[in-house]
Subunit: 211 residues, 2 copies
DNA sequence: GTCTATAGCAGGATAGAC
DNA sequence: GTCTATCCTGCTATAGAC
């Protein structure tokens, strides 16, 4: 019956949140220690260094959340009433933007992902291999059932969809600025998802004939 | 005949490059001083602090390059042989990805933009107001000639296009990873632009009927 | 305006008591 | 395993000579 949260777990959880919010350089181990209510030295004791802590955050926290999103995509697909390209795009958007992951965990995934895309570290290859590529492959496989084109086009198409999802989600501050939504609530989010689906569904057709 | 590059200009230019490459926190004024071959103290003499230097980089360097891209978009539009939505998307993609700006200057614009989207600073409102919104408005205005829909949809559509352009351009390392292009040269870039055009052109149609 | 030298501080890491 | 105390490095910023 060891359901007590260990110090190590507490540190992992807190530092995931802080790295996501303020980035690797913007987060100090003193910050982490204070927020996790542990001693600075405990962090170095458990993880050796700030960098190794960060890598463990990616391996343990990031990958586990990302895996949940991927599972949710596949489960969305299975439960789709119909069987068409729209379901694939919808399943993807919803898995990413409306998944049942708590908001904080989704923020961790997105934020760390965008930060690694912007400023790749040693963790980038891990993220690409274990989180990004598998999801892209899954989506491509589903789309391939409806769209016959060479693999390269298929992947580019999936990336076009994903780029929108990331952009509208993570950069919502700027989106809010440009569109001047009076508020940015769940309703707005659904509207944006619907827009991505509308836009991308038609977009798919444009890619069938690519050479 | 004062065409000698002043110390101040040299510092601005070098720091724009370094801030773009390594971010605000990743760049030290010592780095800048070394690369610009000036003294550390000269930077503080001319700009007061690192932060004020950064803000001047945004105001002087970033905005000036961004303005060139916007001008290039408008000139592309004027010189289009035909007059259709495809020309608008093509004009935008080319202005951003193939503009005559030297590669280094384009890198400065994109990189600083993405960094500000990821980690907004005091500079973000300036960028949004003077670089992002004007371009988005211009593009929306052009598209509005062909697509009659409410403004909100129009803007979302423009953002869908821009999100792809940013993604494929700035995150090219990851794109290369996913698509496994054997090489990432001018030819590949043109292929990607063509993909964005194909995808978005059809995508537009999906947005005509949005409510 | 440009330099050297240095103050002053923040953060990462470790030694050693408990 | 956890704490306190401390070292060390690297940074921004400034004082003051030239």
């Amino acid at each position: 019956m060891k359901n007590k949260i260990t110090t190590k777990e507490k540190i992992l959880k807190v530092s995931a949140k802080l790295f996501a919010e303020k980035g690797f350089y913007g987060t100090s181990i003193r910050d982490i220690a204070k927020n996790a209510k542990v001693n600075v030295a405990a962090i170095n004791y458990h993880f050796g260094s700030k960098k190794r802590l960060y890598l463990e955050v990616i391996q343990k926290v990031f990958l586990s959340h990302a895996e949940k999103i991927r599972k949710e995509f596949n489960s969305n697909i299975k439960n789709s009433p119909k069987n068409n390209p729209e379901c694939v795009i919808s399943a993807l958007s919803k898995a990413v933007l409306l998944s049942k992951l708590p908001e904080t965990e989704r923020k961790v995934v997105f934020s760390l992902l965008v930060r690694e895309l912007t400023d790749p570290s040693e963790a980038f290859p891990i993220i690409a291999k274990h989180a990004l590529l598998p999801l892209v492959e899954d989506v491509a496989k589903e789309l391939n059932k409806f769209i016959k084109t060479q693999k390269e086009n298929l992947i580019l198409t999936v990336l076009s969809i994903i780029s929108q999802i990331i952009f509208f989600n993570f950069f919502s501050r700027w989106v809010r600025n440009a569109v001047s939504f009076s508020k940015y609530d769940e309703k707005t989010k659904e509207k944006i998802i619907q827009h991505i689906i509308n836009f991308s569904l038609k977009g798919l057709e444009g890619c069938k004939g690519d050479t």
